[in-house]
Amino acid sequence: MKRKLLLASALAIALGSLASCSFIFNYVVPSYPGDNGGIGEDTGVEDAGTYNIRIWCDERIVNLTKTQVGNFVNQAKDENGNQKYKINLSIDASGEDKTAASMLEDVQNGADIYVFAQDQLAKLQKGGALAPISGAMEAAVKRETEQVGIDAATINKKLYAFPFTSDNGYYLMYDKSIIPDDKVQNIEDIVSICEQKNKIFNYPVFANGFYSASYFMSKGLDCESIWEIDASNKFSGYVDTYNTEKGFIAAKGIREIRKHASVFGNDDLPGKFGNGLAACVTGSWNYPVAEKLLGANLGCAPMPYFTVDGQRYHISSFSGYKLIGVKPQTDPKKVSVCKRIARYLSNQVCQLERFAAVNWGPSNIADLQNPTVMSSPGLKALRDQQEYSKPQRQCPSSWFSTLSSMVGSIEATSTDSELRAALKLYELNLETMIGD
């Protein structure tokens, strides 16, 4: 008996220590018997039957998705208690960066349901690869998701996808052993510490339009680039305030930070934590890498402030979402079932299961209030940043490269008039994107 007790205690200790390695592994998803989002919602079509359905999603969630679709099938019963759907499911691993391109290459042979990054929404909708979501399902999604998330999935007031995660934005990750927690509020402090200690601060503001916009969108400057889409799904016009006095302030801020040798602009530096990198601006997709390298020394914080002419501005960021969409089908029943499955995969329970499995931040309002979700350092930083972040609106794909080209050219400017010329050239380039 004693031996059994000892064994049990040892096992408990071992499991406990394993669990304490990361909150990811010790979180048990609570059951929500009431939440069966997607299964019973009225789609206006009687859709019981057998379907061949193909799903594309990130390789990390392939098995989980398979289980979740299985749960959907088991929970969907007709009035006699029989299984309503028989799904012949095939799931392929496809990174969000590739999914949109693969879908648009051949929509007819693409996946029926697929997960993609928010910035691909306009492209996919334009390519005729997304079925709109309406009626009871739309109302339910709007009820359960923050407005920013709904905006992320909406074009011309029509909802085209279900918000899947809310953590596709970026924030500051830093090495606590180099930069103290109270020194991450101002970019000047971060840079100065890095210079003193001969370390690197990586901020891809110079190389990638996704990050370049952050300075211009800073609180107090609030530069915007809003693009109109006409009935034929082409970008027909824009309101862009980057080439303004406020944009000029942002450009000055970028030029100032660029002068420091410790500031680098690479996209993929989190792997250098522990090897010269003190801090970097990146997203949750790099959190596991950083956590592995720094462990308890990893700090996460919202974006810092920058100062120009004595005035402080809080740097903004894009609040990025992952979305799950459904391909238009020739069979109304199949499109209805696909929407049910996509809706189910994005419901409260499934999002929480994904958080527990791969630490993907939920977009569901109730999940966001969950104490375990709130305690995740990366997600907490994102939540703190939310006040300053902006939704990533639909824009021509070349807008990002045009913006990063402009920011890239700022480095070469030495006078204010050259800086204004770079902004002017950026504005001129916007014209060429009309009709995209």
Partner: protein, 501 residues
């Protein structure tokens, strides 16, 4: 203009010789165009005669032929079958039946829609259902395929008529017609070349000619992300609109024509340096290793050959990391007291990035050229060098008068293919810089190290602008073809074939 003999020419000073050659070049231009004009005239004349004979044969055969021949105009192979050439007759008949079936089943539809590339647009309903309409992509692809098939059918029909005429002639002369057995035997004997060439020819038509034809046609459409031809909107013909973007010169910011000019110029510069730096340096390394007195020759060669064994993209990715702003090269520079340099990224100066990729390409290309030239260098007759030594020629003179002419003679065609290959050298640029730096002033996100081929890739794959990509593809073809034709006619390998024999 006075024409010099070879001896007179050699007696002239270098400057006068150059001026004379320049004059000869310009004086030959009118003659070249005259020759070209005559060539085109003769080709058109020949084509006209060919068409005349084609129609004359058809009409005359019908007028002069017997009823079997006349029926063969409608029922292919009828004449052959009734004249006991069953195998030929059946083959003709099968071709006709397949053609009729294909045209009714699908060919007619695709050819009929080819002028519009489809009219029925896809309809997206509010519930997410789609009603697919025409498919512009399929119409264009199968339309072209059907046209090829129609041409093949017309030719077969003409052969069928021609055979009837020949058979009638043979029978009139009271000779024996070939039997089916004879036909089969001929396939492995007299017509063996046809047996062997049928499959490769079909392969070339389907996998090479057809896609080229298709790509050329795409350049005249508006096939892009907004018109994918299936699920959003059909694409259609739009004439020379895409070409006009290249040729309507506009030097302003983001001008497509200016960007095209810059990319083309860099492509040519790159191809020139990538070819000749590798060639001369590779040759130099080979000569160094071949030199008498060099020890461990096999080891040196093996070391260089080993670098070929590593897949190029791995070497390129590794080198790109070395030249990264945070890479080992900059580490060394910084440790030596210098400032880190942006070699290949978006912050790099265009010429720094361009020179860097040329240098990296040298590093990758030398082993290949060393291998290619080693064997050729060993083949140069040693007595040539012995004679030169006796005549008191310096090493440099031996190189410029013996080694280089010999090498250029033997490797002339290789140099040409290498030059055209480098114009389309996708790997080096794409893996090293991805086209960077990308300045604001260049259109369609082109970069300053982009070659036409990498730009085409970005236009077609990243921006889904297939039509513009096709235009660039055609321009690449035109430039490569022009250079190939001109250079091929200049190089000594083809001009003076017997120089070294």
């Amino acid at each position: 203009m006075k024409t010099y003999t070879d001896l007179e020419l050699l007696s002239l000073s270098k400057g006068k010789r150059f001026v004379y050659k320049l004059k000869c070049f310009f004086c030959a231009i009118p003659g070249f165009f005259k020759k070209l004009g005559i060539g085109i005239y003769n080709a058109v004349k020949k084509l006209g005669i060919g068409i005349y004979i084609f129609f004359r044969d058809i009409v005359m055969t019908f007028i002069e032929g017997d009823y079997k021949t006349k029926v063969s105009y409608l029922i292919m192979g009828f004449g052959n079958i009734t004249r006991k050439q069953v195998l030929r007759g059946i083959l003709f008949l099968v071709m006709e039946v397949v053609f009729i079936w294909y045209m009714i089943a699908m060919g007619g539809y695709y050819v009929g829609k080819l002028n519009t590339l489809g009219t029925v647009q896809p309809q997206h309903l509010d519930d997410g259902t789609i009603i697919y309409g025409d498919n512009s992509f399929k119409i264009l692809l199968y339309g072209v395929l059907t046209i090829f098939f129609i041409v093949a059918f017309i030719y077969t029909w003409y052969l069928n008529i021609k055979q009837n005429r020949i058979n009638e002639q043979i029978l009139k002369e009271e000779k024996q017609l070939t039997s089916s057995k004879d036909d089969l035997r001929a396939l492995v004997d007299k017509n063996f070349h046809k047996t062997l060439l049928t499959l490769p020819t079909l392969g070339i038509i389907i996998f090479t000619v057809l896609p080229i034809f298709f790509m050329i046609l795409v350049a005249f459409t508006n096939y892009d992300a907004n018109h994918n031809g299936v699920s959003n909107a059909l694409f259609g013909w739009q004439g020379f609109t895409n070409f006009s973007q290249i040729f309507s010169w506009n030097s302003g910011a983001n001008s497509f024509s200016a960007t095209f000019g810059e990319v083309l110029l860099w492509t040519l510069i790159w191809a020139f340096f990538a070819t000749f730096t590798n060639y001369f340096l590779g040759m130099m390394v080979a000569m160094l290793i071949n030199k008498k007195g060099i020890k461990l020759k096999k080891v040196w060669r093996t070391v260089l050959v080993m670098s070929i064994a590593i897949p190029q993209f791995i070497s390129l990715l590794y080198v790109s990391k070395m030249f990264d702003y945070h890479g080992i090269i900059n580490d060394v520079i910084v440790k030596c007291g210098g400032e880190a340099i942006h070699f290949l990224d978006n912050d790099a100066s265009p010429w720094v990035a361009r020179i860097t990729v040329i240098i990296i390409n040298i590093w990758i290309g030398i082993p290949y050229l060393m291998l290619v030239t080693t064997g050729i260098l060993m083949n140069i007759p040693a007595d040539l060098y012995e004679s030169a030594n006796i005549d008191g020629a310096t090493k440099w003179q031996q190189y410029t008068k013996i080694t280089l002419p010999y090498m250029l003679f033997v490797t002339g065609p290789y140099l040409l293919t290498s030059f055209t290959g480098n114009m389309n050298n996708f790997n080096v640029i794409y893996l090293l810089t991805g086209g960077a730096p990308h300045p604001q002033t260049m259109a369609n996100n082109a970069g300053q190290t982009d070659l036409l081929i990498t730009w085409l890739f970005n236009l077609a794959i990243k921006d889904s602008n297939y039509a513009l990509g096709a235009v660039i593809g055609i321009m690449v073809f035109v430039v490569v073809a022009l250079i190939s034709v001109v250079v091929y006619n200049i190089i000594p390998s083809t001009k003076n074939e017997e120089e070294f024999q």
